[in-house]
C-alpha cells in the first residue's frame, strides 16, 4: 500500500504528518520524499545515506548526415525543443520533456537517444526504515520525470509513505497518482480552504480516496471543517496550534518522537487509513 501526503497550500504540515505516519507504521515501511525541488524529510528522520543514483531523461541527438530535413520531428514537438533552420536541425535539450516522439516519427532514423541529467536519487536507512528522496538538479525545470523515477524505486510489497510537493500541478500529480490513499493536510483559514478545494478536485479526477488532517486546528474558522463535511471527506486528525510542536519542528524532531502521546494517535491514524482502504476495496 502507498499512502501519499499532499496539500494544496504549502507549509500546512505535510512533512510533519508524513514523517510521523511513516515512523508509526513500523520497520517494514518506506518513506519517500517526492518534493524533489525542496526535499526536507531527511532533516527530520536523519537517514544514513547508503547510495546515490544519477537520473537522466532521454533527449534527441541528431545525426545530420542522415537527416533529410523533412521537419516531422519539429512538427511533433510541442515543447519547441527541436527546430529546423537553414537545412540544419537544432535541439534545445533543456526544453525537452523526454517523450521520444521525435525519434519515433523520424523516417530516416536520424535521431538517437542522448541524455540530460535531471537530478539524483539518494537511498538511506533510518532505524531500519527505508528512506529515499529525489533532488532536482539546480536549474532543472522539470520535476515530474525525477518524481516518477523515485516512485519506481518503491517496493510494492511494503507499505510506503510519500511526501508530495505542495500545489496541484504536474509534480503533485506525479507524486500522488495511483497511490492507494491520499492524506490531505490543510489549515482552517480561507486561504487554506481555497487550496484544499483545488486539492480535492485534483484527487477526485485522479480517483484517489482521500482523508483530511486539519493542522493548527484551533485557529481560523469553520470553513474547512464545513467543506469536508459537505464533501464527505473524513477528518482523520486535528493537530492544534501549539508552540511546543513548532519548537520541536524547528529542532528537526518528528512529532511522534518529540511527544510520545502523539505516537498513539498516529498509530490509530494508520489503522483508520487501513480500514478506509479496505472498505473501498470492497
Amino acid at each position: 500500500m502507498i499512502i501519499s501526503v499532499a496539500s494544496g497550500k504549502g507549509g500546512t504540515g505535510k512533512t510533519t504528518v508524513a514523517t510521523s505516519l511513516a515512523l508509526s507504521l513500523g520497520k517494514d515501511t518506506q518513506l519517500a520524499d517526492c518534493d524533489v525541488e525542496a526535499p526536507n524529510v531527511h532533516l527530520f528522520v536523519h537517514p544514513e545515506f547508503r547510495n546515490e543514483e544519477i537520473i537522466t531523461v532521454p533527449v534527441p541527438k541528431v545525426d545530420e548526415s542522415r537527416c533529410t530535413g523533412c521537419g516531422k520531428c519539429v512538427e511533433i514537438c510541442r515543447f519547441n525543443a527541436i527546430v529546423n533552420i537553414a537545412d540544419t536541425i537544432m535541439t534545445f535539450p533543456e526544453l525537452c520533456h523526454g517523450c521520444g516522439g521525435c525519434q519515433a516519427v523520424c523516417p530516416a532514423g536520424a535521431i538517437e537517444e542522448g541524455e540530460r541529467i535531471i537530478g539524483v536519487i539518494q537511498h538511506g536507512l533510518c532505524n531500519g526504515m527505508d528512506f529515499l528522496h529525489g533532488r532536482l538538479r539546480i536549474g532543472e525545470a522539470m520535476a515530474p520525470p525525477l518524481i516518477r523515477q523515485v516512485r519506481s524505486r518503491i517496493n510494492p510489497d511494503k507499505t510506503a509513505v510519500i511526501d508530495a510537493p505542495p500545489g496541484t500541478s504536474c509534480p503533485v500529480i506525479a507524486a500522488i497518482k495511483d497511490t492507494d490513499f491520499v492524506v490531505l493536510v490543510a489549515e482552517p483559514t480561507p486561504f487554506g480552504l481555497n487550496d484544499l478545494e483545488l486539492a480535492i478536485e485534483t484527487v477526485k479526477i485522479l480517483k484517489i480516496p482521500a482523508g483530511l488532517i486539519i493542522n493548527r486546528s484551533d485557529i481560523g474558522d469553520m470553513g474547512v471543517a464545513d467543506y469536508a463535511a459537505r464533501e464527505n471527506i473524513p477528518v482523520l486528525m486535528e493537530i492544534p496550534y501549539d508552540r511546543n510542536i513548532a519548537e520541536a519542528y524547528c529542532r528537526g524532531e518528528p512529532l511522534v518522537e518529540a511527544f510520545p502521546q502523539w505516537r498513539r494517535r498516529f498509530v490509530r491514524l494508520c489503522e483508520d487509513i487501513d480500514e478506509l482502504v479496505a472498505e473501498i476495496a470492497l
Partner: protein, 120 residues
C-alpha cells in the same frame, strides 16, 4: 533584402514590441520596394516555452535577413545566427522610424543575446 521588426501591430505606424519571442507581430519590410507584410505571432505568444525559438523560425521562414527588436534571448539568438540573420537589439519607437534609422545606417547588429533565457 527583408528586415523583420517585432511589433505591437501590423502596420508601419505600429510601435516596436520590445519582446522578440512573445511579440504580437512581425513586420517584414522589403527594403528595395518598401512593401511590407504583417505576420501575427499569436501561436508563439501563447507557447508554454520556446517562444523565442519559434519566433526566430517564423522570421527565418519569411526570408528575413535582419531582425530589429528590443530584447533577444540566447535560444532565439542561436537560431537567428544559425540562419545567418543579423540581429539588432535595444531598439524602440514606431516601426517606420526604426526602418528609416536602419536605412541611414544608425543601427548596428549585436554579437550576442542581450537578455537571459527564461528557464535556465
Amino acid at each position: 533584402m527583408k528586415v523583420a521588426v517585432s511589433s505591437k501591430g501590423k502596420t508601419l505606424d505600429s510601435e516596436l514590441d520590445e519582446r522578440f519571442g512573445r511579440a504580437a507581430c512581425f513586420i517584414l519590410v522589403d527594403l528595395n520596394t518598401m512593401s511590407y507584410e504583417g505576420v501575427e505571432n499569436t501561436q508563439n505568444l501563447n507557447a508554454i516555452q520556446g517562444a523565442g525559438i519559434q519566433a526566430a523560425k517564423t522570421v527565418v521562414d519569411h526570408g528575413a535577413g535582419v531582425v530589429i527588436t528590443g530584447n533577444c534571448g540566447p535560444k532565439a539568438f542561436a537560431v537567428l545566427s544559425q540562419a545567418g540573420i543579423h540581429t539588432i537589439t535595444g531598439v524602440s519607437g514606431k516601426v517606420k522610424d526604426v526602418i528609416e534609422q536602419y536605412k541611414k545606417g544608425e543601427l548596428s547588429p549585436t554579437d550576442g543575446p542581450n537578455v537571459k533565457g527564461h528557464w535556465m
